[in-house]
Amino acid sequence: MLLDIHGLTKNFGGLIAVDHLSMSVGEGQIVGLIGPNGAGKTTVFNLITGVIRPSAGKVEFDGKDVTGKSPHILAKSGIGRTFQLTPLFTDFTTLENVVASYYLHPRSGFWDSLFNTPKYRHNEAYALEQSLKILDMVGLSKVKDERAKNLPHGYQKMLGIARALAVQPRLLMLDEPLGGMNTDEITFTMDIMAKVRGLGMTILVIEHNMQILDLCDRVVAINFGQKIGEGSVKDIRNNPDVIKAYLGEQNVA
């Protein structure tokens, strides 16, 4: 398994946001993480990527224990992610967002950058070329010189994915990539996710929109931080606990 989580737990004061959660993601899969609002999905992401430290439990990536490591170390080990909110460098242009995200591979040191060495120039040319390719793939070429903060919401979400791809991750973690998108954008984004998987990447995706299930190989459903279901899409659709959790949410709303 590429990602293994054992008994992951997070307390915020008295609130248990994630409660002894265990799950795994196999290489090349698309795994969905679903659950009602406040179920603890984003917290799971933040625990995996080291944004917050777990109260208990273990995170293993590629067979190595990475529990509680800093976010930049996890990026280095091969995890790219997007954020549910404020996913961007808002003052940069679209292109600058992606170029800046080519920070790890290739990596230019301080002195190479300062003295503009051939190695540095080669690295930067490569980063620019790859960034343009990524923007092309996610359909943002036409707005590459627009400031990120001026982009429409759907484009910003797309740019978040482009930025995460620049890390060249083995595992791509997407937090509600379809949130706030219109139907065309949803179809387009799902196409890109399929394409990304085709490139050999593994995807763990949080989503409210059940359309995402069409893409998933496996789904994990959580509520109140606890796993309430796991398995194939069909299993999840027929799981009474999952249905109850979502119906319950609708009753409240």
């Binding site: 990527t49 944004v51 800093s70 976010p71 930049h72 990026a75 280095k76 790219g80 992610r81 954020f83 404020t86 996913p87 961007l88 460098f89 808002t90 003052d91 940069f92 600058e96 170029v99 800046a100 995200s101 920070y103 790890l104 230019s108 301080f110 950058s113 300062l114 503009n116 540095y120 930067e124 930025r163 995460a164 620049a166 890390v167």
Partner: protein, 333 residues
Amino acid sequence: MHTESLKRQRRNITIAAICVVVGLLFALPQLGLSVYFMHTLIGVFIWIIVANSLRLLGLSGQGSIGHAAFMAIGAYTSAILAKFLGWSPWITMPIGVLVTVVVGFLVAVPFTRVRGIYFTMVSLFFGIGVLAVNQVFNKWTGGYSGIISIPRLFAYIKTPYYYFCLALMVICLLIMYRLEHSRIGLTWKAVAQSYSVASSIGINEAWQRILCLGVSCFFAAIAGVAYAHYYVILTQETFSFNTSINVFVYMTVGGAGLFAGPIAGTAVLLIIPELLRDLREYVPFIYAAILLIVLFLMPQGLAGLPAQLWQLIKRPARAKRMASEKEVGERAP
């Protein structure tokens, strides 16, 4: 394509203009620059380095109101070594810079644990702390009354100092410009905009903020040692809280968003009082007036004024053109 060539053209004009200004500055002593004005300009060169080093720190989202303290560490280290050990200033100056950079990195480790306004407050306390250290070691630093008769770099004439400080400023500005426009600057700006996104793409954002502070200290210290061996006197007032605030004002009035900002701000705010020497009592009012005008009317600072004026000229023209196009469009069918 069209905008690309336009951009290149504008860039070439800017480079040409800079060359002319720098050439003129180097020629000024031959063109009969008065000793008094030469003295003013030497000060301008030194403070431009400091104001730009403060802006460099700002690239990573860190604002300091204690930056003069780093100048002080370099200046006092070099001055004390030169005066009491009799070493040549040419040796003590690099040592002063080195010591400051080491101190800068050391204090950066705890300081950069806090961000934004909290960092700014820590920088204030650091500035006060350095002044306190200055008092404690008054045997060498002279405490409040300061240290005088610091060995000079050159004899009593000002011209070599003028060239030295001008060259120092040009070199420092070139390096800072290069830093900002390389990946280093890009990374710092990324960290300033969002540390969580920055760390998600593999940037060790805490280290980048430490690095930025260390590099900024390097330039502040260069200005500090140049100051020490030119003015040859350092007192408690030289690098006080007031000084740090002044530098902050030079930067913001000039325009913190632009590389030319601190340059314009420092030059204008230091030269104007000299031109208005007869109105000396009114200088604080003039300062206040400039500050208010800039704050309310120039969002980009003094350095943004040319672009702002250009917009003003262009806008009516464009409005007229658009209006006529609309008319044509309406008549067309």
